[in-house]
Symmetry: C2
Subunit: 139 residues, 2 copies
């Protein structure tokens, strides 16, 4: 938490109450939380919020790398290493529903090996790369 406060101060980003609260909510969890679950927790914390409030806070947090979206769940998790620009790998346990971020170095080389080394038993991977295809690049 202090990490990101520091970071925002130096980068001159506004870590407003609602943004801070959303981050705190996610920090407490080991599983991904959906936007509407976050919204409920915001309300319990006294923020009488509508959906756009949660989505805006999440947009901010994701944009600056404090939070990641888990695409296969439409859920969100706090980043384990905010500030570091990295390409995260998530290990999603189908039994306890935990979402763990694999060590950054894991992305560099053999994927399943790297994940195995963490003790995670991979059953299925979802790998999507976003960028520019060769056809478009040639234009």
């Amino acid at each position: 938490m202090e990490n990101i406060e520091e970071y925002c101060k130096t980068k001159n980003l506004k870590l407003t109450p609602v943004r801070q609260k959303v981050f705190q909510i996610l920090l407490k969890e080991t599983s991904g939380l959906g936007a509407y679950r976050i919204l409920d927790l915001l309300r319990e914390a006294g923020f009488n919020s509508q959906p756009p409030v949660a989505y805006r806070a999440l947009d901010f947090l994701v944009e600056h790398g404090f939070v990641h979206k888990i695409e296969s769940q439409n859920s969100f998790v706090a980043c384990s290493d905010p500030g570091a620009h990295h390409s995260p790998i998530f290990m999603i346990c189908k039994k306890c529903d935990s979402v763990l971020e694999a060590p950054v170095s894991a992305s560099a080389s053999d994927l399943s090996e790297a994940l195995m080394a963490t003790g995670f038993q991979v059953e299925q991977t979802i790998i999507e790369a976003e960028g520019v295809c060769s056809t478009c690049a040639d234009k």
Copy 2:
């Protein structure tokens, strides 16, 4: 198309008209299609369908590896190599919106290298591994 008809025959799977049509629709596209876009195209083709019809057909096709879901888009694409049990890697072009499946071998070793070799300029990767975490495995 013949591939999957063969495959279904040997495996005794029912490739019903609506399933076949959904697959044909996806085969024609280079981009991912959302379920409701597929539904529209089904209707244009004379299937007067409700959402569950499209989702059921997609469930069937995904379950048997004929179609993949692109999680970051909530869209679907025909599999480029149906029948082969593989862990696909998708290259999603942000300019032309095309979705290409990288050659299977690419998953084995360095990811960004493998993708670069295809001429695709990676800007961001989404990697999610589903399985069992070490804590749950120990129980």
